[in-house]
């Protein structure tokens, strides 16, 4: 069975459900980045760092490789070329979602997200990507 890869958008609304699911999920380093980048208190940053280390020790952490970065860039480039996104959008637009998406299908995972729109867009250029809205997954 494919495993869920949780996008950053699900941790706040579904935090009560995630703990029991943690031995069946993978975690992306990109998600850890997104969650860490919003930390203000040092103690919160330390807890997120401990979470990252634990995920790594238990082989649950997916870290994008060079190939993943290049594939993500190519996906966003194709969206731009096909005019599915504005050609003047900054290079970082969709960067993290494309990295999470690429990590998902190369690790036999599917994405669980609240941000279904961006991932549905990425599916147009990442045919192997599978995505489910968080509401549908958790309910």
């Amino acid at each position: 069975m494919k495993l869920p890869l949780l996008d950053s958008s699900v941790f706040s609304p579904f935090k009560g459900r995630i703990e029991n699911l943690i031995d069946s999920t993978k975690l992306s380093l990109v998600v850890i980045y997104e969650l860490s980048a919003t930390n203000i208190d040092e103690s919160a940053a330390q807890k997120v760092e401990r979470w990252r280390i634990s995920a790594q020790k238990s082989n649950r952490l997916i870290t994008p490789t060079q190939a993943d970065w290049l594939a993500a860039a190519n996906a966003v480039r194709r969206l731009r070329k096909l005019r599915l996104i504005d050609r003047n959008m900054p290079a970082t637009t969709l960067q993290n979602d494309a990295l999470i998406a690429r990590s998902a299908y190369t690790h036999e995972c599917f994405i669980v997200t609240e941000n279904i729109q961006d991932f549905t867009l990425l599916q147009k250029v990442m045919p192997k990507l599978e995505v489910i809205p968080a509401q549908e997954f958790f309910n």
Partner: protein
């Protein structure tokens, strides 16, 4: 070899006739049963997850910064 689903699209998912995507082939949270015996690493991960999510929630309340 079975007949390929006529509605199968290039995303590996199924698209139903009204244009909405069908996710029925993907597992749901309820399909993943928590292990009765977790390894030490998984116990640590579970605890670290709980503590990190709690800390993020407190930050959200304290500063109004959404972590998603």
């Amino acid at each position: 070899m079975g007949k390929k689903n006529e509605n199968e699209n290039k995303t590996g998912g199924n698209q139903i006739s009204n244009g909405l995507r069908d996710y029925s082939h993907l597992p749901r949270a309820k399909d993943f049963k928590p292990s009765k015996r977790l390894s030490r690493e998984m116990q640590e991960l579970k605890k670290a997850t709980r503590e990190a999510l709690k800390a993020l929630e407190e930050e959200e309340k304290k500063y109004g910064v959404s972590f998603t």
